[in-house]
C-alpha cells in the first residue's frame, strides 16, 4: 500500500508539473477515439438491427403449431421485454356469395413491435403508416383479398361465425415477407374477436406466434430461459433466419463496423506504445535516483504500475466522456444522413473501451515498464548505464497477446483473428525492414539539397532506431486507415450492385401447369421481365441414410425444423446464375431422371450432410430415395426462385405440382387486379416492400459505414497527432543546441519539416502498398469483390507526407520558439 500512496502522490506532483500531460492526453484521445467509434457503432448497429427487425415485426419470435403458454409472455414481460400475440389460420372469407381463402391473422395490442402497418381507404392505394390495429368488430383485408371479394370500406365480411366490418385496407405489414410460406392474401383482425369466429377447432391448422422486442441482454436471457424450459416443438426465429437477404447485409455491416472499431483500437495501441516509450525514457533517471535512495525493484514497479492504472482509469473516464460528446456531435452533424430516431448508445462501449485501454496499456506499456524496473542505480553516476536489453520475444509476447485478444473480441472468429494478427505481424516486419532500408537510402542520397533538408535527413538516419520505430508506428496507423477506406468502397459498391432497380418485385406461386404458358404471356404482355419458372412440390424428409429423421440429432439449430416441416422441392435442368457449386457436380442431361439431389449449404450445415448421403423424401405419399451429389451456395438476395432442395428433371415430373416464378413489374394496381381476376388460383406475392426494407437496411448500413469510417479517420489522425507530440521532447535538447550554434528558427523549422515529411512519405509509401495487399485479403474475408484503387495509393502517400510534416512542425513549434536556456539549463 506504501507504493500506492507514493504512486498517487508522485502522480499528483507529476500532473501538477505538466510532466504527464502528453501521455495523459494521448491516452485520453485514444480512449475517446475508441469509445466514440464504439458508441457510434453501437447506436448505428442497433439502428441497423432495428431496421432489420421490422421484417419480423419483432426482434424475436416464438413460433408454434400449438397455443403458446401464457407463462412465456408473462416471463417476457417480467424480464422487461415488450410482446404481442399473433395467431394465424387459413379460412374462407365471405362477402355475400363471393368467397376467398385468406390467411386470417389475429393480433393483440402492440403489434407490430417493429416497423409499421400501412393502410389505405381503397385496394392497392397509397399506404399510410398507422400505430393502430383493427378494433374489435373490425377487419382489415389486404388489397388482394379486398379486390377478390369486391370489398370496400364499410363492407361486412363473414369470418367464421363472426361478422366484421371492413374499416381499412391493409397495404403492407412489416412481417408479410418473412417466409415464403405465407402465400394467401391476408385479413387482419383483433385478437379479441378470434374466439367468437370459432375458426380454431380441434384439428384446425393454426400457427401461433409470440412477438418479442427489447434490449439484446433481455432477449438473450429470454433465449436462455426458453432453452431450459420444455416447450415442445416451439421455434425461436430471429432476423437472420427470417430474412437471409437482410441478415446478410446486417452481418457484413456489423463486420465492417467491428473492423472499424478494431482499427480505432490498434491506432490507440500505436499511441499508447509511443507514449509509453517516451514515459519510460523520461523516467530512467528518476528510477535510478529512487533506487539510489533505497527503493526496491518491487517498489519501483509497484509505484509505476499504480500510476499507469490510475492514469488509465482517469483517462478512460475522461476519454469515454469525450467520445460520448463527440458521437453526439457527429450524429448532430449527420442529422440529414442518419435517422433522427437513432437508439441511444448503451454504456457497454465505455466499459469495453476501458478494458481494451487497460489491455493495450498492459500489453504495450508493461514491457518497457518492466525494463524500467531494471535500470541500475549506477546510472546516477554513469549516464550511459541503461537497463539491460530484453529478449525480443519477451517484449513482443505481451503485445501479441494484447493485440490478439482485442482482435478476437472484435472479429469473434478464431481463424479470421489469427490471420489478422499474422497479417499485422507481417506488416510490422515489412514496415521495419522497409523503413530501415529506406532510411539508409535517404541518408545516402541526401546530396546537395539545402542545409535544413540535409540536417533533417541526417537526423532521421542518425536516430535510426527511433526513426524506424516511428515509421512502423505511423505506417501501421496509416495502413489501417487506408485498408478501411478500400474496404468501405468495396462494401458499398457490392451492396449497391446486389440490388439493382429492376430486381424482381413480385413472386407468383401456385401457377397450375396448364395455365403456365398463358400466365407467362399475360405477364410479358404487361411488360414484365420474367425470371426462370420452377416447379414446386411439397415433400417431407423422412430419413437420412435409412435412419429416420425423427430419431436424429442435427448439428445446426435449423436442422430440426427442416426435418419436421414439409418443404418446397423443385427440379431444374440448369444451375441458376445466382447459384454456385461449393462441392460436388451438377447433373448432366444423361443423369436426368436419376435419383440425385442437390442441396443448399444452409441445409447441408444444419443437417450435417455430406456428398453421397441418401435422403428419403415423402412426396404426396410416394417415397423417393436420392443421393446427394452437390452442395450449392445460393445468393438469396437475387430474389429469383430458389430452393434448398433440387432434383434433376424427370424424377418428380409425375408428382402433381405447381410452378413459381418472380418478375419485375411496374407496380400498378390495374395490372395486379387483372392478374388476380384472370388467374384466381395464383398467389401473388409482392416483395416490393421487402425490397424497400432491404434497401433501407443497406442505406442505413452504408450511412453507418461512411460515418463510422469518417469518424475513425478523424480519431486516427488525432491519435497519430498525439503520438507525434509524445516524441517531441527528445528533440528539445538538439533544437536548443542548434539555436546556440546560431541556427535560425526558419532553418530549424524547415529541418523538422523535412524530417517528418520524409518519415511521412516513407511510412505512406509502405502503408499504401500494405493496405492494398491487406485490403485484398480483408475483402476476401468479408466476401467482397476487391478493386485496386491507384488513386487511393497515391493519396495515401501524399496525405501521410502532409500529415506527418504538419503534425511534426506544429508539435515542435513551441520548442523552436523557446529560449535555449530553458532547455539547456
Amino acid at each position: 500500500m506504501r507504493s500506492l500512496s507514493l504512486a498517487l502522490r508522485q502522480l499528483r506532483r507529476e500532473w501538477r508539473s505538466g510532466e504527464l500531460a502528453v501521455l495523459w492526453l494521448s491516452l485520453c484521445v485514444a480512449v475517446a477515439a475508441l469509445c466514440g467509434v464504439g458508441f457510434l457503432v453501437d447506436r448505428i448497429g442497433r439502428a441497423v438491427t432495428a431496421q432489420a427487425s421490422e421484417v419480423l415485426a419483432a426482434d424475436l419470435r416464438v413460433e408454434s403449431d400449438a397455443a403458446i403458454d401464457p407463462a412465456e409472455q408473462a416471463h417476457a414481460l417480467s424480464s422487461g421485454l415488450t410482446s404481442a400475440r399473433l395467431t394465424m389460420t387459413l379460412s374462407a372469407i365471405f362477402n355475400g356469395d363471393s368467397n376467398q381463402l385468406a390467411d386470417v391473422r389475429a393480433v393483440s395490442g402492440g403489434y407490430p413491435l417493429r416497423g409499421n402497418l400501412t393502410v389505405a381507404d381503397r385496394a392497392f392505394g397509397t399506404g399510410l403508416p398507422t400505430r393502430e390495429i383493427p378494433a374489435p368488430g373490425e377487419a382489415w383485408p389486404d388489397s388482394r383479398l379486398a379486390a377478390a371479394l369486391g370489398a370496400t370500406i364499410g363492407t361486412n365480411l363473414n369470418v367464421g361465425s363472426r361478422t366484421l366490418r371492413v374499416a381499412r385496407i391493409l397495404i403492407s405489414r412489416p412481417d408479410q415477407n418473412s417466409t415464403f410460406v405465407e402465400f394467401a392474401s391476408a385479413l387482419l383482425i383483433n385478437d379479441a374477436d378470434l374466439a367468437a369466429t370459432k375458426l380454431i377447432q380441434p384439428g384446425s391448422r393454426v400457427k401461433y406466434a409470440l412477438l418479442l422486442a427489447g434490449g439484446a441482454p433481455q432477449l438473450e436471457a429470454f433465449r436462455h430461459w426458453h432453452a431450459q424450459q420444455d416447450f415442445g416443438k416451439e421455434r425461436l426465429v430471429d432476423v437472420a433466419e427470417a430474412s437471409p437477404q437482410i441478415g446478410e447485409a446486417s452481418r457484413r455491416a456489423a463486420r465492417f463496423l467491428a473492423l472499424a472499431s478494431l482499427v480505432a483500437v490498434l491506432l490507440c495501441a500505436v499511441a499508447i506504445a509511443m507514449s509509453a516509450r517516451s514515459y519510460v525514457r523520461r523516467h530512467l533517471d528518476v528510477v535510478a535516483l529512487m533506487k539510489t535512495l533505497g527503493a526496491s525493484r518491487r517498489m519501483v514497479l509497484g509505484v509505476h504500475l499504480w500510476q499507469l492504472l490510475v492514469l488509465a482509469i482517469v483517462s478512460s473516464i475522461v476519454g469515454a466522456a469525450a467520445g460520448w460528446v463527440t458521437q453526439l456531435w457527429l450524429v448532430r452533424v449527420l442529422r440529414g444522413l442518419l435517422r433522427s430516431d437513432l437508439p441511444p448508445a448503451s454504456l457497454w462501449p465505455a466499459l469495453v473501451g476501458f478494458v481494451i485501454a487497460l489491455a493495450m496499456l498492459a500489453g504495450f506499456a508493461l514491457p518497457p515498464l518492466l525494463q524500467l524496473m531494471r535500470v541500475p542505480a549506477l546510472r546516477v553516476l554513469r549516464r550511459d548505464a541503461g537497463p539491460p536489453s530484453v529478449a525480443a520475444w519477451a517484449a513482443a509476447a505481451p503485445v501479441v497477446l494484447a493485440v490478439a485478444g482485442v482482435v478476437y473480441v472484435a472479429l469473434g472468429n478464431v481463424t479470421l483473428s489469427l490471420w489478422f494478427v499474422l497479417g499485422l505481424g507481417a506488416a510490422v516486419l515489412v514496415l521495419a525492414l522497409g523503413g530501415a532500408g529506406l532510411v539508409s537510402l535517404a541518408a545516402r542520397v541526401r546530396g546537395n539539397a539545402g542545409a535544413a533538408w540535409r540536417y533533417g535527413v541526417a537526423n532521421l538516419a542518425r536516430r535510426r532506431t527511433e526513426g524506424i520505430t516511428q515509421i512502423v508506428a505511423f505506417g501501421l496507423g496509416i495502413m489501417l486507415l487506408l485498408a478501411l477506406a478500400i474496404l468501405r468502397g468495396d462494401l458499398i459498391t457490392d451492396w449497391r450492385a446486389s440490388l439493382p432497380a429492376d430486381v424482381p418485385n413480385y413472386f407468383f406461386l401456385n401457377i397450375p401447369p396448364d395455365q403456365r404458358d398463358d400466365f407467362q404471356h399475360e405477364l410479358t404482355d404487361q411488360g414484365a421481365r420474367l425470371e426462370r419458372m420452377l416447379p414446386m412440390i411439397r415433400g417431407r424428409l423422412t430419413a437420412i441414410n435409412d435412419k429416420p429423421t425423427a430419431t436424429m440429432h442435427f448439428p445446426g439449430e435449423r436442422g430440426r425444423g427442416f426435418a419436421d416441416r414439409e418443404q418446397n422441392l423443385t427440379w431444374a435442368a440448369d444451375l441458376g446464375d445466382d447459384n454456385h457449386l461449393v462441392e460436388g457436380e451438377w447433373w448432366t442431361p444423361a443423369q436426368f431422371g436419376k435419383p440425385l439431389v442437390s442441396v443448399a449449404v444452409e441445409y447441408q450445415e444444419s443437417m450435417g450432410l455430406k456428398l453421397g448421403d441418401r435422403l428419403r423424401f415423402d412426396v404426396a405419399g410416394e417415397t423417393i430415395d436420392a443421393t446427394v451429389t452437390s452442395f450449392r451456395k445460393v445468393r438469396w438476395d437475387s430474389f429469383k426462385p430458389n430452393f434448398f432442395v433440387e432434383f434433376p428433371p424427370g424424377l418428380l415430373d409425375s408428382a402433381a405440382g405447381t410452378y413459381m416464378t418472380s418478375a419485375y413489374l411496374e407496380p400498378t394496381s390495374g395490372a395486379m387486379s387483372r392478374l388476380v381476376h384472370r388467374f384466381p388460383s395464383v398467389s401473388i406475392f409482392n416483395i416490393g416492400d421487402l425490397l424497400a426494407q432491404v434497401r433501407a437496411v443497406i442505406d442505413k448500413a452504408v450511412t453507418a459505414v461512411q460515418s463510422v469510417f469518417l469518424f475513425t479517420v478523424l480519431a486516427g489522425l488525432t491519435v497519430l497527432f498525439a503520438a507525434v507530440q509524445a516524441s517531441r521532447d527528445e528533440r528539445g535538447y538538439e533544437i536548443a543546441i542548434l539555436r546556440v550554434l546560431g541556427a535560425g528558427r526558419s532553418m530549424i523549422f524547415a529541418s523538422v519539416l523535412s524530417e517528418f515529411s520524409l518519415m511521412g512519405a516513407l511510412a505512406g509509401l509502405m502503408a499504401a502498398t500494405g493496405a492494398s495487399i491487406g485490403g485484398a485479403w480483408l475483402a476476401h474475408a468479408l466476401e467482397l469483390n476487391y478493386r485496386f484503387n491507384a488513386l487511393l495509393w497515391v493519396f495515401g502517400i501524399i496525405a501521410s507526407t502532409l500529415l506527418l510534416g504538419i503534425a511534426g512542425a506544429v508539435s515542435t513549434r513551441s520548442m523552436v520558439r523557446m529560449a535555449p536556456r530553458a532547455v539547456l539549463y
Binding site: R2, L6, R9, R13, E14, S17, E19, D285, V286, L289, M290, K291, T292, L293, G294, A295, S296, R297, R298, M299, P376, A377, L378, V380, L381, R382, A822, Y825
Partner: protein, 235 residues
C-alpha cells in the same frame, strides 16, 4: 575490525570488458573508514574515483573483493537488499544534483523519507530545507532554482534521513568558486552536526584538505596521502 569502522573495502577490484579486452578500473583497493570520519578520495580524471564510490555505496558490485557497510557485507546482498541498506544508512550528493525535475524542492527532500515510509516526511523536509537556508524556496521546482540552491536542496535530501555515511561525488564541481565554497561549508557543517561519516570524491585539493583524511586514486590503485591517517578523524 575495530569497534567504530563503518565502511570497509577489502581488496576490491572492478573489471569491465572493452574492445581491447578486460579493463581493470579499480585494482585491489582496501580501505577502512571509521564512524564520523571524513575522507576525501582524490585523483586525476579516469583514475577510478567514481567507480570506487559506486562500489563503496553498493551502487555497483565489485568483480572481486568485499565491501562492508555498517557491518553488512554488500557482496552477498542482492540489489533490493542493498537498496534497503542505502535507504537506512546512506545519503548521496552528486555533481549534477540529480533532483527530480517534476518535484518541488520540498518534495525532492521528502522523497527518501517517503520511500522509507516516514509519516513526518513533509515536516522533516521543511525543517531540513530551513537548515540549508531555503525556507523561501520550498515550492520551487529545480528549474526555478540556481545551481547553488539546487545543490543545497540535494544536500538537504542527502542529510534528512541522518545517514550513517554520506557519499558526495564532486559536490562543488558544477558550481562557481564562491558558491562551491558555501556549499562545502554547509556540507561539513551538516556532517559535523549529524555525526555522519563523509566520503567525498573531488578534484578540488582545497576541498579535500578540509577532510580529516585523503586517499589518492591513480590508475585504479589507491594509496594513502602522507600525513593523513585513519586515526586523525574529523573532529
Amino acid at each position: 575490525m575495530t569497534r567504530d569502522i563503518v565502511l570497509e573495502a577489502r581488496k576490491v577490484s572492478k573489471q569491465v570488458s572493452s574492445p581491447e579486452g578486460p579493463l581493470t578500473i579499480v585494482h585491489e583497493v582496501s580501505l577502512a573508514v571509521a564512524a564520523r570520519e571524513s575522507i576525501a578520495i582524490v585523483g586525476p580524471s579516469g583514475a577510478g574515483k567514481s567507480t570506487l564510490l559506486a562500489l563503496l555505496a553498493g551502487l555497483d558490485q565489485p568483480t572481486s573483493g568485499e565491501v562492508w557497510l555498517a557491518g553488512t557485507n554488500l557482496s552477498v546482498l542482492d540489489e533490493d537488499a542493498r537498496a534497503r541498506l542505502r535507504a537506512q544508512r546512506v545519503g548521496f550528493v552528486f555533481q549534477s544534483f540529480h533532483l527530480v525535475p517534476s518535484l518541488t524542492a520540498v518534495e525532492n527532500v521528502m522523497l527518501p523519507l517517503e520511500l522509507a515510509g516516514r509519516r513526518d516526511a513533509g515536516s522533516a523536509a521543511t525543517e531540513m530545507l530551513a537548515r540549508v537556508g531555503l525556507s523561501t524556496r520550498l515550492r520551487h521546482y529545480p528549474r526555478q532554482l540556481s545551481g547553488g540552491e539546487q545543490q543545497r536542496v540535494a544536500l538537504a535530501r542527502a542529510s534528512v534521513g541522518t545517514p550513517a555515511v554520506l557519499f558526495a561525488d564532486e559536490p562543488t564541481g558544477n558550481l562557481d568558486t564562491a558558491t562551491g565554497g558555501r556549499i562545502a561549508q554547509l556540507l561539513f557543517e551538516l556532517n559535523t552536526g549529524s555525526q555522519t561519516t563523509l566520503v567525498l570524491v573531488t578534484h578540488d585539493r582545497a576541498l579535500a584538505a578540509r577532510c580529516g583524511r585523503i586517499v589518492v586514486m591513480e590508475a585504479g590503485s589507491m594509496h594513502e596521502e602522507s600525513g593523513n591517517t585513519p586515526d586523525a578523524g574529523h573532529a
